[in-house]
Symmetry: C2
């Protein structure tokens, strides 16, 4: 099962709306006979690939699979029939498929056909690996990751808005890899105007994640990196108050989508319908707070950079330090980091 | 020398205004004959203790010591004379004493007397261990540590000021241990009024660090935990505008100190004169920013707690989340933390 989970993980970010699935076939003597994973929606399921690789060796053998085999005709035929046709005697499953078209019926079909079915093996690990898919199937909304990079004093920009760069190149590369695991990357109109972001994985995902601008109006800049849809698709999701006449300002390329309301929840329902299992919020504070409040965030990824920016807020650790350029900010030298209970302690030296 | 550094560290927080010093004596055959460390100002120096323990075995032996032996009469006689009297042949030293009364003259005295003197052994480690002492001797100001605890969204309080507790019990215990390593703990009048803090090490340091309130005026609460000086001494450092007539409001106990100006730099010069090697800033954003800007901070200790508070500042990661009580704030489940270059990546799940 650990091998099957590793195989499943090879397609991370590539299978939506489908889950990640890995499968291993052992012959009747228990020797490895075949392996497979689900690479992409429309491609064969993991079980089918592993059984094909095993061929005659599957007879009387064991199929180990990270998710319950499907029993319905989708883009590909039901896997249960392939398992039966291959002559497998025993099926070991990590977890039940939450898809209501399966939901235990796959296991039932195999048991009814006389196969031994063992389930719940490494179930927590399998559930964690497919948490985005499970969340989308059970809530109708993709799993949301909210990401930000901030200085050690909790700033994402100077008071004049300057913010490039707070985090270092390794952290920015990590964000590209994070995008490669997501089906869509979401910003608001404010971030588009302020940062003119590219929002791609820099080629680490094919196709690139869908880039989404959530905006009340479509009063957006005429020129923006997001409007070049040769590199990646762009969706402008807007509220119902936008009239067709306003559309003219945006160039050809980005797709327009009218939501019932320009709210995170409405957007996520629309993205789930388009097959997104996991989305990344890379937005400013207003949209981030709204996404949190509407239950659209399940996971946080925060980069804390060893810099001090200062500024005057409600109450954060530092008042104004008078900086007007990112070149002026205090740069610190990391000394040590450790976890204290559920807190992190970050110690550093002034250079 | 590693053993000598470990011995020196036993007195961490207890030797000011003196440095940490550890010493080991090996006999003529190289076997361990004596150990010592400097425990407290006024007590014997490390070399003297180690030599006394070695007794006759010191003859023809080696003294290993983390700091150059002193050659001047202070509260105790010069160590160089004790080394010579013991018949030591070789002295191994980590680093030169930056105290202008020594500064190489101790080594010179030993060399002039015919002893072999080796220096620079584990010098970086020794300099790091005594960085507070070295900083105070070379700048005339104690080493400053600025500490704060904040939520993952960079908040130290809700917009209504509520802040107890952002960090967990392990982090708060760590702060008590940090105080035990410091000679003074500094807050401003605002923190005193808002939090009525105790500022002790909870008995982990004897005596407790000096508790300092830096305030322009002495218009401070009549009742405060800091005014009970049975548990620890308290110093109220104020600006020159305070007249003697105003003093009456404060109870007996806390000492008053008039500074040229109620600024971090003026306070630290006064604390250095009182023998403080290391001070801890536990103040609010205004005083913290001033301390940073005046070069009064050499080290930062930041606790990041897995909570989200929200609020509307210059620009921090989250806008207002509408919380009015610490019981409402979003509590996160830490998933993983790692260093990316010089940044920290903290990943966590919404519960």
């Amino acid at each position: 099962m650990q091998r099957a989970l590793l195989l499943a993980a090879l397609a991370e970010g590539g299978t939506s709306p489908n889950p990640l699935v890995g499968a291993v076939v052992l012959n009747a003597s228990g020797a490895l006979a075949g392996e497979g994973f689900h690479a992409c929606a429309g491609e064969p399921h993991a079980e089918v690939g592993a059984l094909a690789q095993a061929g005659e060796q599957a007879k009387g053998g064991t199929l180990v699979v990270t998710l319950e085999p499907c029993c319905h005709q989708g883009q590909t035929p039901p896997c249960t029939e392939a398992v039966l046709a291959a002559g497998i005697s025993r099926v070991v499953i990590a977890m039940q498929d939450p898809d209501p078209r399966v939901a235990g019926a796959g296991m039932e079909r195999l048991r009814d056909a006389g196969l031994e079915v063992i389930t719940g093996v490494l179930e927590p690990q399998a559930a964690h690996q497919n948490r985005a898919f499970v969340h989308r199937v059970s809530t109708g909304r993709p799993w949301g990751i909210l990401k930000w990079a901030m200085s050690l004093d909790g700033r994402t920009a100077l008071t004049n808005g300057a913010s490039q760069w707070i985090s270092g190149p390794q952290a920015r590369s990590w964000v590209h890899r994070l995008r490669a695991r997501c089906d869509a990357v979401i910003v608001g109109g404010g971030t588009l105007r302020a940062d003119d972001p590219l929002l791609t994985s820099r080629g680490q995902r094919h196709p690139e994640p869908l880039r989404v601008v959530l905006s009340r109006s479509i009063d957006l800049p005429v020129e923006a990196q997001l409007w070049d849809t040769a590199v990646a698709r762009t969706l402008v999701a807007h509220g119902p108050e936008v009239s067709a006449a306003q559309d003219t300002q945006l160039p050809e390329g980005p797709e327009l989508l009218a939501l019932r309301a320009s709210e995170p929840l409405d957007l996520l329902e629309a993205l789930a319908q388009r097959g997104c299992n996991r989305v990344l919020w890379e937005c400013g504070p207003g949209l981030a707070a709204a996404a949190l409040q509407q239950g659209c965030v399940q996971e946080l990824a925060v980069v804390v950079a060893p810099r001090l920016l200062g500024g005057m807020p409600a109450r954060t650790p530092l008042a104004d330090l008078g900086f007007t350029s990112m070149k002026q900010v205090l740069v610190l030298e990391p000394d040590s980091s450790e976890q204290l209970g559920t807190d992190w302690l970050l110690q550093m030296l002034l250079s």
